[in-house]
Amino acid sequence: MELNNVALPLDIAITTKLDEAIGWARESSLWPMIFGTACCAIEFMSVAASKYDISRFGAEVVRFSPRQADLLIVAGTITYKQGPILKQIYEQMSEPKWVVSMGACACSGGFYDNYTTMQGIDEIIPVDLYVGGCPPRPEALLDALLRLQKDLRTNKYNPDRHKDFKSKLDNV
């Protein structure tokens, strides 16, 4: 219609680095996969519900298939029995991928220093961000998300960053 009459600025170009353009695109289209096992998963429900509303930050497309997700949020205690499953889920995610460890148990075993609880998921998979708290408040998880987004924007995440990581489950 009238558009035909408007002189579109076809001759304008925006110059940027490719990495930055990709980082900008990734920033608000993270698809999280929740590996929720315990109390922290209940707090994640709050993060997703109306009051805290993770969709305000462009990360609400929660996937339950690791193959469709690029952000793994491990929310809750990981036991030795759960270990191989978590590792498999992580391996099923395609690159690029990031891991947030939510809560004291996932970060370090928390106050479950005993025969059955893994003393931090970083014994078996690499972690990018740790969120403390037992459980962390929803704001804490959102803060982690914002930090991750900022780092993505500024391209801080090097794809080779976990190249030297060795999982304890690979020892067999």
Partner: protein
């Protein structure tokens, strides 16, 4: 202290059978005690403990037998619930049950070596698992028992005449609550056989209790049923108070009743929200979850934490209600009522909801009792067992409220019983707040509760008292006791063995979700796959409590 019936091991079986004939048909728990480090010499190193409730629900018995060999007869032919309970004793203590249908580990993984609740097992000795159990042998036995396949002379299994597909539901599955694995054999959409594997959230609660003082255990109890932390706190400290032989003040009792009912609401709304999401009714999730946020706000103001409150202490609670609590509570109740009303207006006359839930996931009252299901799940079958009526505590007998029961025991009944209980809990809360007694919330006993802060800072006695209580813990007299309350998922009990020190010698949780989960595989066999998801949601299995 509970009265313990000590029976010689040779006579145990006949004794349990006699008691069963007398009406003790509701098996609450089976556990063992390792006496090897006990302060007082016992007859034998290991003892088995059976806790059984009478069918009138008013009384229970605790039966103990000393074992000279680590071998005992299974009672799983009498009580269906014994199957999993005996597996747990085998897993944790290494006691073998003869004639058990499927004696294998349940909480710990298949590569685990040793029995962690024995005193000789070091608490921090972890063992990595490298490969998850494929559950195929258990599934084959199950298929065999249902005549879907038969065993050939070569020892292999025959080809099945049906085209079965094997599928894992969980443990990483949105509807499996994160940690429950059910392995199903499907014929089309119909589940022919199912076996469940639990223990993915076994966090060693019971072992951790053995090296913490009683008050230090309160935060651990928060994380049993994390949807309603305060009710676990109360169940635990009440058991300890019973062992101490003390009664808390009238005001503390009333506050505990009020918070128990608030926890019940908090738990039911999240269960209902989740089960409706599983059904595809996402809108209800927002209606039901928002009031929960309001309860969080109220509890944060009162206890300092949203979810894991750790509000109770042996002998009382951390602090009294704050000024203006009552007004805040009234606002929260209004929001809960609004959320419930909106949700009901969406589902009450909704044909999809009715057809998806009615006559789905049915369990009969007899089976539910045999599995020792409890709480709303049992009441949905029409059994009127509610500890608040049958064995009242904290003055529940003086509050007017109804026990909500179902008639069929299907998903619909379980959902509707929970809706009904929210209304009844609100009634109780209103009655409590109308007549809230004045006075202290803590027992005035220097050997149980901490002194006032003023005294700690200004007097040597106060400082000493605080120091001793914090470091040594509340000293509980030697003995064994089972105490329980009607928590949100049903009868939540603690069996505690004390050696007279400030740290329990042994703690065993009688977890309502554990018994409910043991009934689950049988409930879904013959059902459609999609109905299995709803059945699981409606049982409200909380993994923290089930796996401990």
């Amino acid at each position: 202290m509970s009265e313990i019936l000590t029976v010689p091991h040779a006579k145990l079986h006949a004794f349990i059978q006699n008691k069963y004939a007398d009406g003790f048909i509701y098996l609450l728990d089976i556990t063992a005690i390792d006496y090897s480090e006990y302060i007082k010499n016992q007859e034998e190193e290991f003892a088995l403990v059976y806790i059984i409730r009478h069918q009138n629900f008013k009384e229970h018995i605790v039966i103990k037998t000393y074992l000279n060999t680590l071998l005992s007869d299974s009672v799983s032919y009498l009580f269906k619930g014994a199957n999993w309970l005996e597996r747990e004793v085998f897993d944790q203590y290494g006691i073998v049950f003869k004639n058990h249908p499927n004696l294998r580990r349940i909480l710990n993984h298949k590569e685990f070596v040793g029995h962690p609740l024995r005193k000789s097992y070091p608490i921090t000795k972890g063992q990595f698992l490298y490969e998850t159990d494929d559950l195929m042998d258990e599934m084959n036995n199950r298929l065999l028992s249902k005549d879907v396949v038969c065993k050939l002379e070569s020892g292999n299994f025959s080809e099945c005449n049906k085209d079965l597909m094997f599928l894992n539901l969980g443990p990483s599955h949105p509807a499996s609550h994160g940690t429950i694995r059910t392995y199903v054999a499907l014929d089309g959409e119909t589940i022919e056989c199912a076996v469940s594997e639990i223990g993915y959230l076994h966090r060693g609660f019971e072992k951790s209790c053995e090296n913490h003082t009683y008050n230090q255990i309160v935060p651990y109890t928060d994380r049993l049923n994390y949807c309603s932390a305060i009710s676990n706190n109360i169940a635990f400290v009440k058991t300890v108070e019973d062992m101490l032989g003390v009664e808390i003040s009238k005001r503390a009792q009333a506050i505990r009743v009020m918070l128990l009912e608030l926890s019940r609401i908090e738990d039911h709304v999240v269960c209902l929200a989740a089960v409706l999401v599983d059904m595809g009714g996402l809108t209800n999730y927002w209606y039901m979850y928002n009031p929960r946020e309001d309860i969080y706000d109220l509890l944060s103001k009162l206890t300092g934490a949203r979810l894991t409150n750790s509000y109770m202490r042996v002998g009382g609670m951390t602090n009294d209600l704050y000024e203006g609590f009552e007004d805040d509570l009234k606002e929260v109740i209004k929001k809960v009522q609004y959320g419930v009303q909106e949700t009901l207006s969406l589902i009450k006359h909704n044909r999809i909801f009715h057809e998806r839930t009615q006559n789905v996931g049915v369990i009969s009252a007899e089976d539910a009792l045999s599995y020792a299901m409890t709480g709303p799940n049992l009441r949905a079958c029409g059994v009127t067992f509610d500890m608040r009526k049958d064995a009242p505590y904290y003055g529940y007998e003086k509050y007017a409220f109804d026990v909500v029961v179902g008639s069929v025991g299907d998903v619909y009944d379980r959902v509707m019983v929970r809706f009904g209980e929210i209304d009844e809990s609100i009634k109780i809360i209103e009655q409590v707040m109308q007549n809230l007694p004045e006075g202290e919330v803590n027992i005035q006993d220097a050997s149980i509760t901490l002194p006032k802060k003023e005294a700690v800072y200004t007097t040597i006695e106060g400082a000493m008292n605080q120091f001793k209580l914090v470091f040594e813990g509340v000293k509980v007299p030697m003995g064994e006791h089972y105490g329980s309350i009607e928590a949100t998922n049903g009868e939540l009990g603690f069996f505690i063995v004390s050696d007279g020190s400030g740290t329990p010698y042994k703690v065993k949780v009688k977890a309502p979700s554990f018994t409910a989960m043991s009934a689950y595989p049988e409930m879904i066999e013959g059902a459609q796959l999609a109905d299995a998801i709803l059945t699981l949601g409606s049982l409200n299995i909380i993994a923290g409590e089930m796996d401990r």
